[in-house]
């Protein structure tokens, strides 16, 4: 860009100011959460809080892990998010293959259209009939309820993203494989999936994070403490009259860890993936 020297320093200053402000705005709540998690109760419940921790402690983490149902919630979230991810990716592989290679078929076009429309329908509006459906199937307070619901809501976006990755695989590769006697399923398993593995992983991480973060269905469809997932669990922690903010922040830190790790991996796919989904949605 052509800019005069004076403009360059000016815009440099403005850029720096904006970024410092927004980084502080975005990071501070997490910093404070981390800070509180390591504070002893006396410092947590202080009317003059400081960032500096006089006597750092792990007692909040110990209390959360050993003396609360946190580990049960955490395990439930792992199971539900893991199973939804596997189901979402397996279904999307086949749907995306059809969307990528047979997009001219009317059956593909009908299903694709259905997926686009379904992606635009928010979950809250379907909450009641879904609750009734799950109840009538006897699946309230089961893992299966959440796995099915999460997969359904994730499949459209996952399929559209995966289609993009499949489109990039040249047809010649498929023809060559067919020539060598490879069946279609064999091609998908032995060539297509290994070739698109990074994209597949990114979609899996997306699906996992989406399921891990979901709140409303977990809150409504699960009434049994033994099956409760983490996000409603943490909100219920807070629900008690005198909130133990030390434990609550410690639990938040532990719950955020898997998401943060996954996010580091998918960050480079974020722009393309999100904009692809955004345009569709």
């Amino acid at each position: 860009m052509v800019v005069s020297a004076r403009h360059r320093t000016l815009s440099g200053l403005a850029t720096g100011f904006v970024l410092v402000f927004f980084v502080a705005f975005c990071v501070f709540p997490f910093l404070w959460m981390l800070d509180t998690a390591f504070k002893p109760a006396a410092e947590v419940f202080s009317t003059a809080p400081t960032l500096w921790i006089a006597s750092p402690t792990l007692s909040n983490f110990r209390a959360v892990v050993l003396e609360s149902p946190f580990l049960i919630y955490f395990g439930n979230s792992l199971i539900v998010a893991g199973a939804s991810t596997i189901l979402t990716v397996s279904l999307s592989v086949f749907a995306s293959y059809a969307m990528s290679r047979w997009s001219y078929l009317s059956v593909t076009q009908i299903v694709t259209g259905g997926l686009i429309v379904s992606q635009m329908i928010p979950g809250v509006l379907l909450l009641i009939p879904l609750y009734v459906l799950i109840r009538d199937m006897g699946l309230l307070s089961t893992y299966a309820a959440l796995v099915i619901v999460y997969s359904t809501f994730m499949v459209p976006l996952a399929s559209f993203m995966l289609k993009g990755f499949f489109d990039a695989v040249p047809r010649e590769l498929e023809e060559a494989a067919a020539m060598d006697g490879c069946s279609r399923l064999g091609f998908i398993r032995r060539i297509l999936l290994p070739v698109t593995l990074p994209g597949l992983m990114a979609i899996a991480v997306f699906a996992f994070i989406a399921a891990w973060n979901e709140f409303m269905f977990g809150y409504v469809l699960i009434n049994d403490d033994a099956r409760r997932t983490l996000t409603p669990g943490i909100m219920l922690f807070k629900g008690s009259h005198q909130t133990d903010w030390g434990s609550l922040t410690a639990a938040s830190v532990l719950a955020a860890v898997p998401v943060a790790l996954g996010f580091v991996y998918v960050q480079r796919f974020l722009i393309t993936g999100l904009t692809a989904g955004a345009v569709k949605g």
Partner: protein, 319 residues
């Protein structure tokens, strides 16, 4: 049609019998269609059963009397449910709250997103790290973000109140989420914090796709930095912006999680929006008909918005 199917079927059933390439070409498409159906069926069934059918169920229930717990309640209700929703004294306040929450959220998110995207489009060292930090709020579960903001804003031990009092902005700590005058605005602010990174990423992608030549040509023609922003940058961001805003107006208007986690619609219904009202009708008053009538109204409003957007886009393309 049928005779052709039968003909190709009979040929296809014995492809080994020395039938030439032409016959096989006829055979292939039908095998392909069958494979496509098999590949798409699981997804289609899930979406039909868990999205399409419930959607029809919402509209059906909105026209009937139905209770979540009492199976004996039933019967055609006509437009009674809609009338009851519109007559409910909670409806107008909830609609107002939804509008305030949605408009302020989206405006704030767009402003923050644009500012950060413009800043991140400049070359500097450590850009990937800064981008990662700014996206952070959008990645962390809403439940965790909401609970921790409640801690920051806590009137007794919260750090923000302590600092504001120490700086002399406030005379005494304020219960931001617990007082009905500030609750809605506070939840909106937290929502802006959580949602603007999505704008940042999308706008940044659009910004980086603007060719540098345009700016150079404009600069040669004597356009200043401000003029270049209005003549080149903003017009290039318009399509993305329109999509972003329409999507977020809908996502925000129907958002349940954030408000529920932070205030549950309180205090004194000061943060009760339409999705919260739907939830209350269904899960606290057990009136499925009423809840579905409100859901149907929301859906109609959403569909209208989409339609208007599509028309605007088409009109612009035609020009």
């Amino acid at each position: 049609m049928t005779t052709m199917d039968m003909a190709t079927g009979s040929i296809a059933s014995r492809p080994q019998a020395g039938i030439g390439r032409a016959a096989r070409r006829v055979f292939w498409p039908s095998a392909r269609v069958r494979a496509a159906c098999a590949f798409l069926a699981p997804v289609a069934v899930l979406v039909a059963a868990l999205i399409a059918a419930p959607l029809a169920g919402v509209v059906w229930n909105s026209l009937h009397h139905a209770s979540l717990i009492d199976a004996t309640v039933g019967g055609f209700a006509g437009l009674d449910n809609f009338r009851m929703v519109l007559d409910d004294e909670h409806f107008l306040p909830a609609l107002t709250h939804t509008l305030v929450w949605t408009i302020l959220s989206v405006a704030g998110e767009y402003a923050c997103g644009l500012a950060t995207a413009l800043a991140l489009a400049q070359p500097f060292r450590g850009r990937a790290l800064v981008r990662g930090l700014i996206i952070l709020p959008w990645v962390i579960p809403i439940a965790i973000a909401g609970v921790n903001w409640a801690w920051l804003l806590n009137p007794d031990y919260g750090v923000l109140n302590a600092w504001l009092v120490r700086m002399g902005v406030l005379a005494e700590p304020h219960d931001w989420l617990g007082r009905s005058e500030t609750a809605l605005l506070t939840v909106t602010l937290v929502n802006v914090w959580r949602s603007f990174p999505f704008y940042t990423i999308s706008l940044l992608a659009a910004l980086t796709s603007i060719p540098d030549d345009l700016y150079e040509a404009a600069a040669l023609d004597g356009a200043g930095i401000v003029r270049r922003f209005f003549v080149i940058t903003l017009p290039h961001l318009r399509p993305v912006s329109l999509t972003l805003i329409v999507i977020h107006v809908i996502w925000t208007a129907i958002n349940f999680d954030f408000i529920w986690v932070m205030t549950q619609g309180g205090p004194l219904d000061a943060t009760e929006t339409l999705p919260i009202l739907i939830y209350r009708y269904a899960m606290q008053e057990f009136d499925v008909g009423l809840a579905c009538a409100l859901a149907t109204l929301s859906m109609a409003a959403m569909a209208t918005l989409f339609l208007v957007q599509a028309l605007v886009v088409r009109a612009r393309e035609a020009r």
